[in-house]
Symmetry: C2
Subunit: 261 residues, 2 copies
């Protein structure tokens, strides 16, 4: 218990507290007062103030004229360097635009983050069905076309974790039975595409396909979200798979579909 030892022990908690402060911001709570920040993080007001002052000085957080704090431009700038975010988005965007334009529907791109997915981009065609997704927003892996693809290719421990935990129901058609989900995931792996039929909203279905990197690993998923009844999912699959393959090629994926996960 030397002074040095104590200092070493402090590093973690202090950085973690600062990051927890950033966690308080969300799409629902994009702006927070100091006392809201303290409340949402469970930090004493003085600690929250000290940390937010540091974060403001660097630009992670900005203070508006109204005294409220919001996520700062510096974080947006830095976030633009994330290869799985902006880098992937820029490579995929032209293909998503083609997919949305040709079909008139929604083209989506998502990656897995732990046991959830994060939407990286969404391009709405002229006759697109309204969807619940938001770029930068999270969603369960079990319900959507992109989610089923990402879960099907996730490490076994992630699959067990997701299938073992509570599975959210969105509609009467959401598959929440782990055994049925396991069958769906096996089908995704063998056919190369996923179908989520009215599992998120009753007016929409989505068809997803995997995007692979230069090592042949699944790093993202593309989907087309269409009005239920407008097209047979099996008719959409070749379109979505072609788009996913085009993005994979842009990422340097090998031309032959690997058999590995």
């Amino acid at each position: 218990m030397t002074g040095r030892g104590r200092h070493t022990g402090r590093t973690g908690p202090v950085v973690r507290r600062a990051l927890r402060l950033l966690d308080a911001f969300s799409a629902r709570r994009p702006e927070l007062t100091l006392s809201e920040l303290a409340r949402h993080t469970g930090l004493p007001l003085a600690t929250a103030h000290r940390l937010v002052t540091e974060l403001c000085a660097w630009g992670a957080v900005e203070r508006g004229a109204d005294g409220r704090y919001r996520v700062g431009l510096r974080l947006w700038e830095l976030g633009a360097l994330a290869p799985r975010g902006q880098g992937l988005r820029e490579r995929a965007l032209p293909f998503l635009e083609d997919l949305a334009q040709i079909t008139g529907e929604n083209a989506q791109l998502a990656v897995r983050e732990g046991s959830e997915l994060v939407f990286i981009e969404r391009v709405a065609g002229p006759s697109a069905v309204p969807v619940l997704t938001r770029v930068g927003g999270r969603f369960a892996l079990t319900a959507t076309g992109v989610g089923l693809v990402l879960l099907a290719h996730a490490p076994a421990e992630v699959q067990e974790d997701v299938l073992g935990g509570p599975i959210d129901r969105y509609t009467s058609r959401t598959v929440t039975d782990p055994a049925r989900l396991r069958h769906l995931l096996a089908a995704v792996r063998s056919t190369g595409f996923s179908i989520s039929d009215r599992q998120v909203t009753l007016d929409a279905l989505s068809v997803g396909a995997p995007v692979r990197d230069r090592h042949g690993q699944v790093v993202a998923a593309v989907s087309l979200v269409v009005h239920h009844g407008s097209a047979a999912p099996h008719a959409l699959a070749p379109l979505v798979r072609t788009s996913a393959r085009a993005i994979s090629r842009a990422l340097g994926a090998p031309p032959d579909r690997p058999t590995t996960r």
Copy 2:
């Protein structure tokens, strides 16, 4: 010099060191090894390792299969909540697309961050001139169309800081004389648009106009970057100003142009 006092004093340095680690990442250096991180931040290897482990656990940084660190998806997600980044981008994008499509040239959107600008979006029309900019990238305020607008409406101390410091030269036509720049800035304020004629590259000129928020404050700038000689800047100005006004309206700006900065 109580224990508590020492702890309070630690908060700043520890958080600052963690943020300095994030600063090591840039468009030129999107991936870094641990020793590169230590070298770029000037931190001892053990400290860098401890901090990067914390940042990885939270998702600010990700470690690739090759052992290199890169900006993590969590930062991209959080950055998407920045009102001056993603929020502004989403509001402005349709107008920028119109501007690029109608003219065939580059439409750009930027905000001021301290004494520099950050490009928030760039939409390239079918016959756009190659430009040096990158979304999320920084640039001097003195040379570009967007920069001149942002500098013209910046607080006096920022203007003094920029005009008093060294002013980068990009071409033989870059204006680097503070007195001439002051005249240019006054013209931007009185005419409502800026002209940067071959100041960044010798084949391009840009025309910029201010974007205002609901308080009438200038929060961003739009520009059109065209091939030099393809159009008279004064002919482009109404187009760019109209686009900037449309974006301002989308942000809730009052219809009459305010006389305040």
